[in-house]
Subunit: 325 residues, 2 copies
């Protein structure tokens, strides 16, 4: 499937009418090719902005997949259409997913109201969040009114991805023990709802207590995040959690924070698109007439340093830029 | 220590004379501030390009720290000055190093011919390799004729970092078992020397055999990487490994591949510096007169899409750019 704009328009038409296959094809297209992404996103932008985006993150082994599974089931039982983007941290050693348990969700994947997509982190570096954003827009336009981004919370790129969400659910489990203190830095502040999963395990009360204490100690919070105890495998506490997720959306709307968050995301997106375009122009400029090759030899021979060359090439780009834009 | 250009010149003078503390201060300065980095790198560039840069990578638990420790000891016993940059994958959950065993190297850190620096991966995303390159330049100028970059080989950013090296040592251990096949993708091709560490363990011969078979099956190799069996904790095989590392440098020099690699690195560096500068100009352009703010509201209200706004803002940047450069 490489198709031209015409066939994308057809796919978009089908996708808007609820066709899951067209939806999947469009996501593949935006993943693989920034130019196709541009064509598609330009066309569907007007249909976006309706979905509630829920991020689910937490350390490996916290039971995020099972929890996501139960949340999805609850949401569809309430008449919602739900999409899941599962971000797989793909090791450069294996090239494959380390989250084999994702297969459990396959029964849900057959449900007409559910769309599940796994995205590897490989090959997107520095751009994973961009691809995820594009996939989100397609799912949003396709009418999935809840979109869950599930990601293991290790690595800055995964954190960047989950920050796209309107509501961020931090999943913890008993047994983190002394490490609970160290969770604080950098991650505690992005959680909107804290979940203690596997609450039937010994130590769950202590973990909940510790999370609550930490939240009480954290200053400068407009809203104190709730701590919800669940046991996902037994489907316990899921109703409470889903209610809290909806409560959070209400809070965002009433406080106008939803608009703020979305404006910030749009701003970032425009800047990223500008950078991408400028990078293209820079590369095509320096490639022409071997400009860069000659300068590289000057740097290698210590006649110039990289900053001098940068300044020289950027000066030369002035004219080139005016012509390209 | 924030100092002006004057004090950096003094630090550089001391660093060139072999002062470790000045060296450490300069690395901290380039880590924290791109403007300081520019001042420092511009001044020291002429003293760089002499060191042999050795990358050591492999999965967690392969014993890289111990191996590095032994290699460093061997190299200094031969009269070399050795620097180690240990890239710590810092979880956003902990904010601290997960490689507590790095502390073992503290005896070496007191040796006047050894310099050890840990760099967290946190906060550098998309830029870790840039900071590492700057640190390398300082260490190179400071006269460390061997610089080891040690990094756990998970995550694209770590792979990017190790690619800076002239010689890449891939460390493996028995017990990878069936996974050996899956190592191939993306990582096998970057190894210049393969080390089977913990060779006293059961299965070491099989692991070595498997790696050798894989290397034999890999086409398009200018040079067949050697496989070296070591037991780092017992200091066994280290002499062979150090010889192979030196052999590889000779090969790089004779085949002129060293020059090729370094030119490719310089080229990438110049492009990265150009992008960084263009990004700055883009941000300052869009920030002025709330240009972007107004457009964000247009996007939020579906009157425009992000690509239209990008094109409009880039057009407007033309004049701005000519003035800025």
């Amino acid at each position: 499937m490489d198709g031209d704009l015409m066939s994308y328009s057809q796919l978009i038409e089908k996708m808007l009418a609820g066709d899951k296959r067209s939806c999947a094809k469009l996501i593949t297209a935006v993943e693989n090719d920034p130019e196709k992404a541009e064509k598609i996103i330009r066309e569907i932008h007007q249909y976006t902005g309706k979905a509630h985006i829920i991020g689910i993150t937490g350390p490996p082994g916290a039971g995020k997949s099972t929890l996501t599974d139960k949340i999805v089931k609850k949401l569809i039982s309430q008449g919602n259409k739900v999409a899941v983007i599962a971000v797989d941290p793909t090791s450069p050693y294996s090239g494959g997913s380390i989250l084999g348990d994702r297969i459990r969700m396959q029964d849900l994947a057959l449900n007409p109201d559910v769309f599940i997509r796994s995205m590897g982190t490989r090959g997107y570096l520095g751009g994973l969040s961009k691809y995820t954003k594009n996939a989100l827009k397609i799912l949003d336009a396709a009418g999935y009114n809840h979109i869950i981004i599930e990601t293991v919370g290790v690595g800055q790129s995964e954190v960047d991805v989950v920050k796209i969400a309107d509501t961020i659910v931090m999943v913890m489990v008993p047994g983190l023990g002394d490490d609970i203190q160290s969770i604080k830095a950098g991650i505690m502040e992005i959680g909107d709802i804290f979940v203690i999963n596997k609450s039937d395990l010994f130590g769950a009360d202590r973990t909940a207590l510790e999370v609550n204490m930490m939240l009480d100690l954290t200053m400068e919070m407009d809203r104190r995040p709730p701590v919800v105890k669940v046991t996902a495998v037994k489907n316990e506490g899921i109703d409470d959690l889903v209610n809290e997720i909806k409560e959070h959306l209400n809070y965002l709307k009433e406080s106008r924070k939803l608009e703020e968050r979305r404006k910030a995301n749009i701003k970032l997106e425009v800047l990223e698109l500008m950078e991408e375009q400028l990078r293209k122009i820079a590369i095509s400029h320096t490639d022409s007439e071997n400009k860069l090759e000659d300068e590289v030899i000057e740097i290698l021979n210590k006649n110039k340093n990289a900053y001098e060359v940068r300044d020289k090439l950027l000066k030369g780009m002035g004219t080139h830029l005016r012509e390209s834009l």
